[in-house]
Amino acid sequence: MKQGDKLAVRIWKGGADGGYTEFEAPLRANQTVLDVVTWIQRNRDPGLAYRFACRVGMCGSCAMTVNGKPRWTCRTHVSKVTQDSRLTIGPLRNLPIVKDLVCDMTVFFDKWQNARGRFQGRATRYDDIERIAPDTPARKAADAGIECINCAVCYAACDVVAWKPDYLGPAALNRAWTLQNDIRDTAQAERLAAVAGDAGCHSCHSQQGCTAHCPKSLNPTAAIAGLKRSVFQAVLRGEV
């Protein structure tokens, strides 16, 4: 790479019936995909819509499809995803497009609620903080999945979501599994019933695209397998 080298960038413009527009952007050392999108918006196309906030891989808002794969763009270096200085950047798959690179995340977060992905505790403000032993199997299982940043990369990578739009998806099920392993949570029976249905964990085909693409290196497939085992055991006990 040398001064003056260029990137050929195709960016999705418009809604679901839109198309790719070609841009040229400077190729720079240590440049991220988000840097490229920002440069194009500031220098070539002020109307380009995209999302970002933290730029350091914490907020989960900048995920896009980069050369066919869902990625967090703020921490994806251009040099990692292209050898020939060509980039194709589109909105995430499996979500409705609002405009350009911006997707409507409503259904993604609705599914977190449908999977009962919210903590329900029993303690009040008058109780002491509960001591949680970090080395129990349950806490280790919960800890393995709690760093999710809700970026929807796994959801976009999942073929089952594409084939079966009702499917709760890897992120929501991963969240459910972390709560099933949280000993402070009191809604475990209801949550298990919520994920045992037709749109729940048993729809997963274990293709493991979620795990292959998760930018935080989480393993939603392992979480979903854990839910499948829990549902199976609950069925044997007659609880579901």
Binding site: G68, R93, N219, F232
Partner: protein, 113 residues
Amino acid sequence: MIRPHRNHPLWWAFALHRLSGLALAVFLPLHFLVLGTVLNGEAALDGILAWTDSGLVKLAEMGLVFFLALHMLGGLRLLALEFLPWRDWQASLAAVAGSLALVVSFAFLFNAI
């Protein structure tokens, strides 16, 4: 061309499991049809069995054995994934299933020729 987000080992394991399952589903009725020819006397079945001795059919049978072994071992892999504690070496398990299926199918071929 395969879409980039699908190009990882465990998606290929899924695709081969699905394809082998479909191939076996297509094969089974034909298998029963051939066995059913014995109802019209043993000569009809013997005629077909003689045809299966040809080299090309043996090669096709090797493919069938490969699909059968792959589907069975892939199924065991999925049962282990769903019912046993999680192991991080899923891609290795899929590779072992595929390799064993190859070994079994070549063993069949060398035994048949």
